[in-house]
Symmetry: none
Subunit: 160 residues, 2 copies
DNA sequence: CCTCCCTTGACTATTATTGACCTTTTAATA
DNA sequence: TATTAAAAGGTCAATAATAGTCAAGGGAGG
């Protein structure tokens, strides 16, 4: 079954495989033109085939001489933790953060200093927003989970 | 994908790196002439790439023998940044965070990876809390500043 | 039919570039 | 000295060039 989507995916993958650093930089408009499709089709392909969970990261810039950069990165065992955070958003207490950070350190996913940074962002900072009208425990836990989640995704994406 | 803007930026950076005191003095008109562009283009590059958040200070003088002086400023302590965060809480936009993080990286206060973690916590995470009834821009900026601030304090406290 | 992808297009957001007009400083000259 | 022209640089708004988002519709397989 023919699919434009798959075509574009294959095309991009070929480009990446042919690049020395597993990174390509393209222009959305030009690519859309080559495939004679709507530009947003490219976004669809990027969102469904080149997201972090499939081991790619995408950066872009709008405006004159804008671009889309696609990079292949190795993925590892962090994914399940992200899923856990998604499922348990409103129950992520401070102590849970501490446990997770300890685990991440033990598993050598993060350095001790990075662990300290994470705790600063998800514990200390959230203890100092009493004035910000954001007091429900569940909401605070959710906020904590979102911050933690994004940090984890960042670790997942990271390549030296 | 050619970008005049990026070209001018690179050119200026080269000049600065080749100067003994990280300072260069140029003439807007002459530079604009070299790049065959509108003089105000130079102002645009200065405003977007060489502002304080990115660690540069620009001074200038008009009139006969006018000039534009661009200086890369080292910071030796993080406290001024923390003070800045306290004073400008409600105006700390995403782009300010990006610029500050880049600065911190260049000054070797943080690693590139730590920079990525900070951005995850203060940008990505805050873009995903629309449902958390926490939508005022100023409040969001404040929250961003608090998180950033705690992370910085953590870095300040950190000893290997 | 129903669902899940795919595909499109209208609308939005961001970044770069240019040009018209304004301000400041210096230098020549009345 | 006062005036004025020339030589800088500054500001701002309009336009162009990208990319992003979102909702609606289409079609193939169950």
């Amino acid at each position: 079954m023919y699919s434009l989507c798959d075509d574009i995916e294959q095309y991009i993958i070929k480009l990446i495989e042919g690049s020395p650093d597993q990174t390509i930089t393209i222009q959305r408009g030009r690519l859309a033109n080559e495939f004679d499709c709507a530009p947003s089709q490219i976004n669809y392909v990027l969102a469904t085939r080149f997201n972090v969970f499939r081991g790619f990261i995408v950066e872009s810039r709008r405006g004159g001489s804008g671009y889309v950069r696609i990079r292949r990165v190795p993925i590892d065992r962090l994914e399940p933790v992200v899923v856990y955070l998604d499922d348990n958003e409103e129950y992520l207490r401070e102590s849970d953060v501490e446990d997770l950070v300890n685990w991440l350190e033990r598993e050598d996913f993060i350095t001790a200093r990075e662990g300290a940074l994470i705790q600063a962002a998800t514990i200390d900072a959230l203890n100092k927003i009493a004035d910000l009208d954001f007091s429900s425990v569940a909401d605070r836990n959710r906020l904590r989970a979102r911050i933690f989640r994004e940090i984890l995704l960042q670790i997942l994406r990271w390549v030296e």
